[in-house]
Amino acid sequence: MVDVFGIPQKNSRGRVLVIDDEADVRKSVTMSLTKSGYEVIEAEDGQQAIGLMNSGDNPLAVDVIICDIRMPKVNGIEAVSYFRAQYPSRPVLVLTGFPDIQLATDLLKQGVVDYLVKPIEREKLAAAVESAMTRSRKAA
């Protein structure tokens, strides 16, 4: 598994970390984004994702983080604020099973770049990831 922590593969459009407690959702995101030319790394919950990001000498090279809200251990709200604080340059997208306007507003205020609701078409997800990457490159 160590080799995934390096620089993204040459012909990949970028590397995405997806955090969701449901294997089904991880599978869906991986399928959709792989088809769209991205490399996908999966984590089951916020705790595992944070561990992944911080393992090794350098933070894991990911271009975009996609995070669920309703998860055991470190939940999405906590994971998002952790990533915003520790890795402010990594765009975070929230992908959730239910639209909650209040929560969406709070998260967007925290710097989440997009609030996506499942089920989402492959093209829409890829477009959201692409625009998040473009924005973060411009900011860098």
């Binding site: 869906s28 399928m31 089920p119 989402i120």
Partner: protein, 341 residues
């Protein structure tokens, strides 16, 4: 309000009307049913009376000869009964029969209908608070269905297509199971006879619903069940009791904590306990939690009817409900019913 000594009532007739009156009287303070009689040994009210520990008999004359009766309520519908009572009522105990009994019966039916509607409305309001959780649980497998189908559209490998098709079928089954659980809960309670309801199953089903009540999903559940803790009742009503109490626990912990569900069976009683590690209930609130419309929750999260309904149903089945709570440590609700197993 109730004043003075309780009215000791003898009920004649244990059919549908008698049974409803029996249940109403049994839960009314100030009214004591001292006996019930019906010529038909299989009349439903006789069975119900035994469950409520009320003397039941087939011998009307014997019942009338007992001391301490304040009122005879005749709902037999038998035109000869009035005369029979007159002959066996030397002390001239007041009799409520004929048209007045029918009037009473109509009022009771009306009240029961309104109550059933209120309970059903409360159930649907609770489903409203579950919306976000339900959406989450349905949208996840729906997402899988969508992405598998998208993938199949440009896939040519028959093996992959077959695997995807199989996964789609499984995801649809999961969605169907969620919808089935919801319809079971939302179903109008049947007016049919009471059946044996397994409390373990009711608690498990209730937990599935209660999980929908919070955004977070960090509740550790410990089950400690005895085999076949069966109570007599309508399954929808027993489920509603469990859903209301388990949901309160889940909401109190805000989706994070430990929930302990246990069942016991001893001395002809079945007990279920639901213990949470939430913030507990302050002393001054504790007295009010069973009051109708008492809630500390914001609109959309609670109606204040959950515990009132739970208690009404539990009492109807001759059971009891109590609570112990330690501020900062958690709350334990206990349900106890006569065993039917």
């Amino acid at each position: 309000m109730v004043s003075g000594d309780p009215i000791n009532v003898i009920l004649l007739g244990a059919g549908t009307g008698g049974t409803s009156l029996l249940e109403l009287f049994a839960r009314s303070p100030g009214v004591e049913v001292v006996g019930i009689a019906d010529k038909n040994p299989d009349a439903p009210g006789l069975k119900r009376a035994r469950e409520l520990h009320i003397p039941a008999s087939q011998d009307v004359a014997e019942l009338l000869s007992r001391d301490g009766t304040g009122l005879i309520v005749d709902v037999t519908g038998d035109p000869a009964m009035a005369e029979f009572i007159a002959r066996h009522n030397p002390r001239g105990i007041q009799v409520l029969g004929g048209m007045t009994a029918r009037l009473l019966w109509n009022l009771v039916q009306h009240e029961a209908g309104i109550q059933a509607q209120l309970f059903q409305a409360a159930k649907l309001a609770t489903i409203g608070t579950f919306t976000s959780g339900i959406a989450h649980d349905i949208n996840n497998p729906l997402y899988l269905v969508m992405s598998l189908a998208e993938d199949m559209a440009d896939e040519s490998d028959p093996g992959v297509i077959r695997d995807h098709a199989r996964d789609i079928v499984q995801a649809v089954r999961r969605i169907a199971a969620i919808v089935k659980g919801l319809t079971l809960y939302a179903r109008v309670s049947s007016a049919d006879d009471l059946v044996g309801v397994d409390l373990n199953g009711a608690l498990d089903e209730a937990l599935k619903m209660a999980r929908y009540a919070t955004v977070l999903n960090e509740i550790e559940v410990a089950r400690d069940y005895v085999a076949r803790p069966v109570v007599r009742g309508r399954p929808e009503e027993i489920l509603q009791v469990c859903v209301n109490i388990v949901t309160n626990g889940v909401q109190a912990m805000n989706g994070r904590g430990a929930l302990r569900l246990s069942t016991r069976r001893e001395d002809g009683l079945v007990t279920a306990t639901i213990a949470d590690t939430g913030p507990g209930i302050p002393r001054d609130v504790l007295d009010k939690i069973f009051d109708p419309f008492f809630t500390t929750k914001e609109p959309g999260k609670g109606t204040g009817l959950g515990l009132h309904i739970a208690r009404t149903i539990v009492k109807k089945y001759g059971g009891l409900i109590d609570v112990s709570s330690h501020e900062g440590r958690g709350t334990t609700f206990r349900l106890q019913f006569p065993s039917a197993g």
